[in-house]
């Protein structure tokens, strides 16, 4: 026979409960102290594998280098910063798993440098629901249109803008027929729209073909392109599918001009596709602020002669997150959201790194952060406002800047 639980409180239980209540005020301050002394947590959700893998490792290094520098200078708000990095595999499923870990287990305030639009689209709802700030590279127009409540900014120009750059290239070259080949991504439609909107009125015929990026051969798709006899071709994928596409385009003996996104047409692309297939392909790339103090500083930090725009953006993400929290006097995603547009004040002291900015804020000054990727100003949707592009071309196995 089991003993039934009793609802009657015994004298011993009453004394224990009262003692616990009495001791509560003694315990609470120490709980508060523990929170204040805990590190501030920031995360990089970077692409270490998959299509974004040429850039993720450098992004992670930039994050870590800045955080080490800030910690060496004493941290912010009297607390050290702890950094977590997870690989999103350039894949939304893996990205969501990694983001859940960062948000639920690591309790981070910001997720930085999300590269692929598909990953950012999948992860952003987790961010705004948990009041975690996302500072992204991902460029699909649709991401900024999500109801993110301000928990999203990106330093990469949105994709319709990039599409217009491709259209301008077509117009300047006097192209007659522009054939656009892109994988299925959240930004495919907006890039194609940007191209059509500008090319159409100029009388340039635009044909489009959306392919499955996971395929190991795109011969039939290339045959379709060849039948259309375009004089300008867009190889518009990420690095792995660009390799497959470029090889098949070379084999098909395409004689026209080819162009694509710089993030797909990397030095590793040249290795993978081979020099013959890569030769002559143009790429369009948002220009980092190569003349800026932040750019020079990042080059020294990473011990590199040249930097791509994505590592510059990663550097800016971590600086923006830290400076926003320092300015807000609070370490949270909401604090970053509410303050990120207040640290690029034209009248403020120009700063190019977090330690100097933190010091200026502590001195009561307004600051104007000048990033390695450019001025980091965002519109109400989180889109970067000021951006410039440059044109590269692969010549003799090297990527050469043609026009900046």
């Amino acid at each position: 026979m089991t003993k039934r639980p009793s609802l009657v409180i015994t004298r011993r239980q009453a004394i224990a409960g009262a003692s616990a209540l009495a001791a509560l005020p003694l315990v609470l301050p120490s709980v508060g102290f523990a929170q204040a002394s805990e590190p501030i947590r920031l995360a990089g959700l970077v692409s270490l594998t998959g299509g974004g893998s040429p850039f993720g490792p450098s992004d992670r290094m930039a994050h870590q280098a800045v955080i080490d520098e800030v910690n060496a200078a004493g941290g912010i708000l009297g607390r050290k910063i702890e950094y977590f990095a997870e690989d999103d595999e350039t894949n939304p499923e893996a990205g969501v798993r990694a983001a859940r870990k960062l948000i639920d287990v690591n309790k981070v305030s910001a997720i930085m440098s999300v590269f692929a639009s598909a990953v950012a689209t999948a992860v952003l709802p987790l961010c705004w629901e948990n009041k975690v700030m996302m500072l992204a590279i991902a460029a699909a127009d649709s991401i900024a249109m999500l109801p993110h409540q301000g928990y999203f900014v990106r330093t990469q120009p949105h994709t319709e803008l990039q599409g217009r750059e491709f259209a301008n290239f077509a117009i300047k070259r006097g192209a007659k027929h522009f054939f656009v080949m892109m994988p299925q991504t959240p930004f495919t439609d907006s890039v194609m729209k940007g191209i059509k909107d500008l090319c159409g009125p100029k009388g340039i015929k635009v044909s489009t073909l959306v392919y499955d990026a996971k395929k190991t051969s795109l011969r039939s798709e290339v045959e379709e392109m060849m039948r259309a006899t375009p004089d300008l071709l867009m190889i518009g994928g990420y690095q792995p599918d660009d390799i497959v596409l470029a090889k098949d385009v070379y084999r098909a003996d395409y004689k026209g001009t080819s162009i694509g996104f710089a993030y797909g047409l990397t030095p590793q692309f040249i290795d993978g596709a081979g020099k013959e297939a890569a030769e002559g392909i143009y790429s369009i790339e948002p220009v980092p602020a190569a003349g800026s103090a932040a750019y020079a500083r990042l080059k020294t930090m990473l011990k590199r002669d040249q930097l791509d725009t994505y590592v510059c953006q990663a550097y800016d993400h971590v600086n923006l997150a830290i400076l926003s929290m320092a300015k807000a006097g609070q370490a949270s995603g909401t604090a970053i959201r509410d303050t990120i547009r207040k640290i690029t004040d034209d009248s403020g002291v120009k700063v190019d790194n977090a330690p100097d900015g933190v010091k200026a804020i502590a001195d009561g000054k307004e600051i104007n952060y000048q990033g390695a990727s450019g001025p980091c100003r965002f519109d109400e949707h989180g889109n970067i406002i000021e951006v410039e592009f440059r044109l590269n071309q692969i010549r003799d196995g090297k990527i050469v800047v043609v026009k900046s």
Binding site: L209, E221, K247, G272
Partner: protein, 287 residues
């Protein structure tokens, strides 16, 4: 009409390459009765072995193909011995799930050793050959020949050698084969070696056409699985037929569907085939 012929040619050649790992997949299933998804990782092992022999050691393509088979087979037997063999007594689904875990380990080991960057074989790219309105890449022809030769050798092995006949006996009736004194463990090792070895060649041939990276097999495994299922799991001729059916279906679907639906076409073919013939086109017990 020209377009149909071109797509048909592309489909046949894609199917021939797909058939090799599909034969590997089905061979392992025939003897061990579980779906071994680690074939994907071993496709990558074969591709990297071929790459090392061709690009680093400077040996010709045939030596690279041989290396792809030998390395993928050896590593396949070793990983099977360590990771999957202890689970043989469990349900097929358990072992199949374990094979997915093994696949991740193999891919990550390659990533650790070679990195993620795509790599290219030291074989010059060639322009397409024209046969009237049809354009065919010489590399595709070479890949198809290699795939066909590998299949012929396998068929001769299974038909003419004592070991091959013993393997078929185990695949057909394991209990009867056991009563005849055929060592099931030895047959299992040979089946894994052949399966992973053929997967390795398949991975290398795909790499010759595109480029190689640790996920080369992962990207192809759904089509490989579809080919094996359509052909009839456990049937080697079925895997060849399944490879061709999937290759042709994916390419010819472009006549009616956008390219992005290519992968879905494979599964549509599975659905139709299994509805009409539940054990696949040439399944071992098909009526």
């Amino acid at each position: 009409m020209e377009r149909i012929l071109q797509l048909f040619a592309n489909g046949v050649m894609a199917g021939a390459v797909l058939a090799l790992p599909a034969i590997g997949f089905t061979t392992i299933f025939a003897v061990l009765r579980f779906a071994n998804f680690a074939v994907a990782g071993h496709m990558a092992v074969g591709a990297f072995a071929g790459y090392v022999v061709n690009s680093w050691l400077g040996l010709p393509a045939w030596a690279a193909v041989l290396a792809a088979f030998v390395f993928a087979a050896s590593i396949g037997v070793a990983t099977d011995h360590v990771a999957l063999r202890p689970l043989r007594g469990y349900r097929a689904l358990t072992v199949a799930i374990a094979s997915i875990a093994l696949n991740l380990m193999v891919e990550n080991a390659l990533r650790f050793g070679f990195g993620n960057a795509p790599r290219n074989f030291a074989i010059p790219l060639m322009r397409d050959l024209s046969f009237g309105p049809i354009h065919i890449d010489p590399q595709q022809i070479e890949n198809t020949i290699i795939a066909v030769v590998a299949m012929i050798i396998l068929f001769l092995f299974l038909s003419l050698t004592t070991t091959g006949k013993a393997m078929r006996a185990v695949a057909d009736n394991p209990a009867l084969a056991d009563s005849k004194g055929i060592d099931p463990d030895r047959m299992a090792r040979i089946a894994v070696a052949i399966g992973m070895g053929l997967g390795g060649i398949g991975g290398m041939l795909i790499g010759l056409d595109a480029s190689i990276d640790p996920l080369i097999g992962f990207r192809s495994i759904l089509s490989v699985f579809a080919a094996a299922v359509v052909g009839g799991l456990g049937s080697v001729p079925g895997a060849v037929l399944g490879g061709l059916v999937i290759g042709l279906a994916e390419e010819l679907s472009l006549l009616a569907l956008p390219s992005t639906y290519k992968a879905a076409v494979g599964f549509l073919v599975i659905l139709i085939t299994l509805t009409l013939r539940p054990r696949g086109l040439l399944g071992p017990r098909a009526a």
